[in-house]
Symmetry: D2
């Protein structure tokens, strides 16, 4: 019963198989192979426009290089207070931008509140050197707590971004899970709402190591080839990433895997809702379910073999827990087995 | 007939197979899995001491984080004028050290000359803030031009490093090729001669993506976990690197692959020596052969399907070429086929 | 009637005079002159222990290099949400620390609340690389809003610093104003409470350009000579800073100037308290007075020649203003004339 | 007899006097005062075009921020092998550009050889990410060894800069000394030959602390206000720099001081030429004279009270010295007294 994280899973068989097939033969390194080119083309189709796409090795790299591409001296990027880039990347975004700051913005349900965003941006009057200068806005889709920005919510933030001339970045570590939950196309969830850059994650959804940084406007990525190489993120045998994307994007596999993971989360959630001993912390919209358990129940579940992380309540929900309770996060993936969900739900009682 | 580079090859079947096997099941991410721990232990055995080992995604990352670990403000690292970190990493070492400089040191045969090294270090008197302060020495084994430091040559540089209190780093992108050529153990080629840090490359010798940064003295790596994470080099599904190393190091596979690549290079070299139309630029000691061709012969070889890079002569050998000649680099790997070597040699005439 | 800021004043005549006298003759540059050495010695006396002292050209430089001296990868420093280094230094502290983060801590009256501080630090469990690692704590004395940490309040924060092994920095841009208000010695206001590093500002209190970075434990400043030079803060004719400090610290001039500025602020405050049309925003403890005015009154004052800044209410006091009101900051200095205070108070009505 | 460096002198009386006069009154800080604006205007006149000018506190800051303004990821700047920014700034240019590299270019007489320059630039083919990308060219006028680029030599380098689309920077720490020696106007010595950015130094020529970074094309300095503030180089009481420039540039004082210093150097040089015991290392063209002395004579001169630095021979002149000889540098300034020159020459014998 492993619900620790979707990165505890390995690789989907179709992706592992594709890697195996790609092992032989010679191929131009550093992104110059035919396969690399073909996958770049595949991203154009996926996003229904000519994009610039760069493979990198981690989601943290994708997020950090997105900001590095639009970097400004004294720059300030706005993201949700609980954003991964602020809480879980050890300062990588600041490091790769030579110290540009991440300004936390509050908002309910893991999502930036547009009014708060505007108020924060306004703390930086144009040309006021003491404060620094706004540089970018970043949203996470699906959010860190498994919720979703509706398309119109993305558009609302994009409008503010446009108003202040700021590029809008989307951390899509769980892009696929969000996409299938919202029943949108990649274009609809990104540039059609005003998103300029996407960290397109595939690792959590069935790849070994496949992250793509996608720029809707290639001009914005002008320096990215140098930025990526200098960041030690230009892999020599890059076809091993390209071929993962090939299998991942082939015939809708990626959407199927995300739908499966989301469905498993729904079953988990149903079990929690029906349990007398657990309660849902908030509505799960993708593949992460947060629930409140009595500490003794949490311990019991662990004893019985369930693996999951205890979680700090978001600052906006500090009153969530009674003293004897804990918040736990349950993550599903392509590798989650329905039997394990059932077993867990049964143990919940 | 592909002699472009050892990173044009894919993955050795045994390594691809091991990856396939590791695809299923759940495993702690970020280097915390049992397999990660087991491979760390394997490195201890390999180096016959307790080392600290960190997986990263590229050789550039390994080299850059090695320097970042020993970084000093105003720091200056000494490497050969033709070193990869100086010529081919787009400033990554300087970037990851926040601007610490790489000072080029001249020397014959791609190797740092100890006298030149000493003279360069002495340009930085202790506590003279204007010049900056020495920070590290880095050598490449095998060198960029396929030659080798003999153990006593490594020791001579290590003695200078010790005299000035500087850590000695070895860029071992082709560590295995050097090791088998010299018939040494990893310990003999590293810490027993005074090397403190090794960039242990496996990608060029048959892995997809497997680079390890090895510190002989774990204390020197105290901050590395944070340095690596901040550098976006902590991979979530790190077992996919660990399992490559498992197969790579199992039962001497890595040594076998390196011996094979070196042997192919020897055959190529023999063919060049015996050719009336080509001449060896210098003695190849590992899996890189450099030869001087008439431009028309180089063109003809390419037409016949040979793939290789033209190379800039090292600054120490600027007089190497007549006007109608070019220097070309021929690299062999585990994937080089003997027939292709034969075919190439035959075409040389 | 200039109450815009204490840096709108020029230099005190005694300091300008001392500069004039120092203009002739030859003197070793880069901090090596006898005068430099003498002033360093003077700082030892001042702080009643052997300190390491470094002159820099701005307060921002002092704060940034203080953090740079204790820098760690993925480092996080804790300061008040309204701290100068967070709000008014254009990201310089992050820049000089290669991206170490400033984590805002809330607290009443411009002061860090120890409980909040502890809670924030605890968000960074030891060796949890994802979050980063605590690096330093910084307090501002006097605070950005003219209030003061009492000695026991400093000690309370220092205890937390010690508990977590973090150096404690004091931004003393208005060190003198705080010192005389509290009737403490420099030692009592710094290391005797547990402060490790002081940005000792003299510019705002009557110098042209004289900022000193003082380390209570010189060992902590081991790399500072290189850090400062690399930061372009090692001035060649450093005696022109040294001689300002000489005059400033001579015969208690600095304390006298601060007492005068504070007294002028007291008179302003008294006038506000007695005014029917203005009200004090909070109790002024040094040379900055914050008051709430009707917008029309603020406009009228400006028309009559008063110079001052409108101020954003601290986030902890967002309900401070009615819609027709503004918060204004009034700063006094050694150059404030009593007549101008009287004139201003009279205009307040 | 102090010939150690022009930064051993203090401030010229007229400049010290002007500082004294500026001490009283209130004035907008951070470069916003009327005086600041007036001096900016003065620079427009000086350079006969609308320039963007930024005051900073050190020459190292001016040089470093010049490069920061034109920074590129993986950037490489070309300067002479003996350039101050390469040899004497503790890596500040690399630090402020987040690791952009300084590539040394050889050339006789302290000057970049255009052919060498071109050859070095060509080592960086466009879009070849491994090597990095050219970013800027920097020349020093007068050079580190007291020689001068003739206008046509500047133009020759500027032509290469244009050919490769690179901005051309001039380190003018001794701009005035060069200007009067060449009998050129500032425009003639800079943009009329193709120079884009000038580090306009005044400190060495009679100011306390006055360095200006001048952009011929203000568009190139678009981000400089933020770059400077983030670099901790925006001085609050900036009028104290502005007023130094006011006196310095008033009525040709700066040219007069430079002419005087150069004249003193000429006398020194004449004395050396006529001496039987010393010989000129090379022709001095400004205020730095390099001569070869017998070690025993150097010691004797020091005993008699002469102050000067022994110098490392440029790499291009390593054969300059016999074993018993040393190279010494003798620098004159506005403060050098003719009597001391005479005394020194007499001691030479």
């Amino acid at each position: 019963m492993n619900f620790a994280s979707d990165n505890w899973a390995g690789a989907h068989p179709a992706i592992a198989q594709r890697l195996m097939e790609a092992a032989s033969g010679f191929s131009a390194p550093y992104g110059a192979s035919d396969l690399d080119k073909k996958i770049e083309q595949r991203f154009n189709e996926l996003f229904e426009r000519e994009v610039a796409v760069y493979f990198v090795s981690t989601g943290t790299a994708a997020n950090s290089l997105a900001l590095a591409a639009v970097n400004r001296p004294g720059g300030v990027s706005f993201c949700h207070r609980e954003a991964h880039m602020l809480e879980d990347e050890c300062g990588a975004p600041e490091f790769f931008t030579h110290g540009a700051r991440l300004a936390p913005v509050d908002g309910e349900n893991g999502k930036i509140d547009p009014n708060n965003l505007k108020a924060e941006i306004q703390r930086f009057p144009p040309n006021f050197v003491h404060a620094g200068q706004p540089m970018a806005i970043s949203i996470t889709q699906a959010t860190e707590i498994g919720t979703l920005y509706q398309p119109e919510e993305i558009a609302a933030i994009a409008n503010i971004a446009k108003e202040y001339g700021l590029p809008l970045h989307m951390d899509g570590a769980r892009f696929a899970n969000a996409l299938v939950a919202l029943e949108l196309t990649p274009a609809q969830m990104s540039w059609k709402q005003g998103v300029d850059i996407v960290s397109f994650g595939a690792t959590k959804n069935g790849c070994w190591c496949a992250e793509a940084l996608v720029f809707m406007n290639p001009e914005l990525a002008r320096d990215l080839p140098f930025i990526r190489k200098r960041a030690a993120q230009l892999m020599s045998k890059s076809r091993f990433i390209a071929c993962q994307f090939e299998a991942y994007l082939h015939d809708g596999l990626w959407l199927e895997l995300a739908r499966y993971a989301n469905a498993m989360a729904k079953r988990l959630q149903m079990g929690i809702v029906n349990s007398k001993h657990a309660r849902l912390a908030w509505q799960a919209e993708t593949n992460e379910v947060f629930c409140v358990l009595d500490k003794t129940l949490a311990d019991k579940l662990r004893e019985k073999g369930a693996v999951f992380y205890q979680w700090n309540p978001p600052r906006a929900k500090l009153g969530l827990l009674a003293e004897h309770e804990v918040l736990v996060r349950l993550v599903t993936s392509f590798a989650t087995e329905a039997e394990q969900v059932e077993e867990f739900v049964e143990l919940l009682g």
